[in-house]
Amino acid sequence: MTDQEVKNKIKTEEYFVNMGPQHPAAHGVLRLLLTIDGEIVKNVEPDLGYIHRSIEKMCERDSYQQIVHLTDRMDYLSSNINNEAVCLAVEKALEIEVSDRVKVIRTIISELTRIASHCLWWGVMGMDLGALTTYFYAFRDREMVNDIFEETCGARLTMNYNAPGGLMYDIHPNFVKRTKDFIKHFKTKIPEYDRLLTGNIIFQKRTKGVGVLTKEDAISYGVTGPVGRGSGFSCDVRKHHTYSAYDRVDFKEALLTEGDTFARYQVRIMELWESISIIEQLIDNIPEGSVKEPTKAVIKLPKGEFYQRVETARGELGVYINSTGTKNPYRVKFRSPGFSNLSVLNHIAKGSKIADLVATMASFDFVIPDIDR
């Protein structure tokens, strides 16, 4: 019997499986309704809203300083970068020029945040694929970054260090030394990560050729961040629409063309190296200056629309503020990277196996509060 004849004789049925909101490996509360035929996934329908907190509606009621505090609950792994986005938007609207010291410190803290986020991503990716030890190794390094943040910013996860006009307060005297120690320690750790996971043949077989995303699809679906860069879409906001101190440092944009899970993995590892290089270039020469430009206590933006984009660890975060001149914004929209990245999941997961879906989702690095806002 030919293959086709066998298929016609054996009747199979598709069935629905819930990769439910409570899931040992879910990256948050995401419900995926899978239609599966045997082991092949036929359709993926995400069901969102489990952690929707109507941040955009709350922003219409709050003042501009209060909006900053809402943003770091969105993508809590890049909380500093989210705060920076709103502060930059407000400063662009008020035409405030912050001092160099503020720009450099903001850049260093953003890059440390990116390193911490990628550390957690690496640990979780290993754990999703079965290498359970990677989680502990990654958290050991992330703890060091969290300790630095706790000393300077006062919190480990939701920092709120940026304020419109500059920073909340100056950096702690230990900040420079601890950051340099961390960089020295971390540079010996990334080769360890490579030995543990990247070079492992089982890992490579699980990720190469899996979940391929072409460049045209990436642009059309608006997929940015390491996912887009793994497919060849050059979208690094730090290069194309520079902000803060990124114009005075020298770094490469991690760009690969294969578009599979392994390429996305390698892009993030390359970004870890680039972040270390950026911090090294800036940490020794933090210029003197004021850390906060004076702003009015009640900030009122001029009438108009303002858009600011930043590069979080997940991709391009856009803040759109529509103001009518009052002390609250009229409409705030957060263009979240996770939302666009999730929309492409159905397209690339069709026809793959359940295990491949898990590997693909791990490489996308979803943080569901970012998608749900």
Binding site: L129, Y137, N200, K205, I354
Partner: protein, 359 residues
């Protein structure tokens, strides 16, 4: 007195055997002895299972740069007793749409097959419960029964995830039994006998089998370790219970004592695979270079357990380092790579024996 030739009269088994036969009529005595052996093995099963769990947790902690359980008792030694008490006292939940008979029957399949499995191992010259002349063959046959328990458990749970997990496990076990059997067969060519105590005797006179067989024996050992890890559903072949993918696989719906049965059976299976490896490749209860041979049972049991623990440590090392294989990659590995390699190795061993090139 020369310590090595002193034969301390501590023949426990023959002492007890004679004593019981002297105080009871024959049938009652033989039944009593069987019951005693069964109780001893159940105790061994429980203790070994529980302490292997603790060992796994400590080894995992060591790999993950943390301490592991160390509060309950010194070095956490009483942790497993606490865990056992907890599991015994848990509520046996189940939903009302399960197939009651099969659901309750499933754990017993896995336990009975592992218990029969450990009964044939020679822990020392005297301590072997069941020394039959088809020992290895019997062992492989009995360990295949365990997979029925998994399939039945997954089906009876009336749960899609459990069913997927059980199906995956079924096909994984059936595929890798081939490799296990063929690698064992490769070594049987060297020994010429299937009886386990005889296999250890062959190694006492000629040296450990892995050295006698050199190249094909080493290849057979590697294949046996890979296939053995896959047989027991341990990482990197643990997609059956892949927590990150499908809840908890086939034992999602089990709780309390029934879950404990599945859980312990996995660890005892690991013990069985390690014991087969030790008996077939590393000399069973013999000491390296024969330093303590002849001194009754105590050092022999000690050497056996040490070797088994080393192999178990190796299997635990696999689990905490490697990511998981996908199910089609697992099958590809077996059918396209391990099976042809095994067959070629078997022929190589046959050629080496025929040409008398063994050490």
């Amino acid at each position: 007195m020369n310590f090595l030739t002193m034969n301390i009269p501590l023949n426990i088994t023959s002492t007890i055997h004679d004593w019981i036969y002297s105080i009871m009529p024959e049938t009652a005595a033989s039944i009593t002895i069987m019951v005693l052996i069964a109780v001893a093995y159940l105790a061994l099963f429980a203790v070994a299972g529980l302490y292997l769990v603790l060992l796994e947790r400590k080894v995992a902690a060591w790999f993950q740069l943390r301490l592991g359980p160390n509060r309950v008792g010194p070095w956490g030694l009483f942790q497993t007793i606490a865990d056992a008490l907890k599991l015994v006292s848990k509520e046996l939940t189940s939903n009302d749409r399960i197939d009651k008979f099969l659901y309750n029957l499933a754990p017993y399949f896995v336990i009975v097959s592992t218990l029969i499995g450990i009964s044939v191992f020679p822990f020392s010259k005297q301590f072997q419960a069941f020394d039959i002349n088809i020992g290895l063959f019997f062992l492989i046959a009995v360990s295949s029964i365990g997979v029925i328990g998994i399939l039945v458990g997954g089906w009876a749970s009336n749960n899609k995830f459990a069913l997927i997990g059980a199906m995956r496990s079924g096909l994984q076990t059936i595929s890798y039994e081939l490799s296990v059997g063929l690698s064992i067969l490769t070594m049987v060519l060297l020994t010429g006998t299937l009886q386990l105590s005889q296999i250890v005797e062959v190694q006492r006179t000629g040296g450990w089998l892995i050295l006698q067989g050199h190249i094909p024996a080493i290849i057979a050992f590697c294949i046996f370790m890979i296939a053995g890890t896959a047989e027991t559903n341990r990482a990197p072949f643990d997609l059956v219970e892949a927590e990150s993918e499908l809840g908890a696989g086939f034992h999602t719906e089990y709780s309390g004592m029934k879950f404990a049965y599945f859980f312990l059976a996995e660890f005892i299976n690991m013990f069985i695979i390690a014991s087969i490896a030790v008996v077939l490749f590393f000399g069973g209860w013999l000491s390296p270079f024969g330093i303590t041979d002849g001194i009754t049972w105590f050092p022999e049991v000690f050497w056996f357990l040490i070797k088994v623990l080393v192999i178990i440590f190796l299997m635990m090392w696999f689990r905490w380092t490697f990511p998981r294989l996908r199910v089609d990659q697992l099958l590809t590995l077996e059918w396209k790579y391990l099976l042809p390699l095994n067959l070629a190795n078997l022929m190589l061993m046959a050629v080496i024996i025929w040409m008398n090139w063994t050490i």
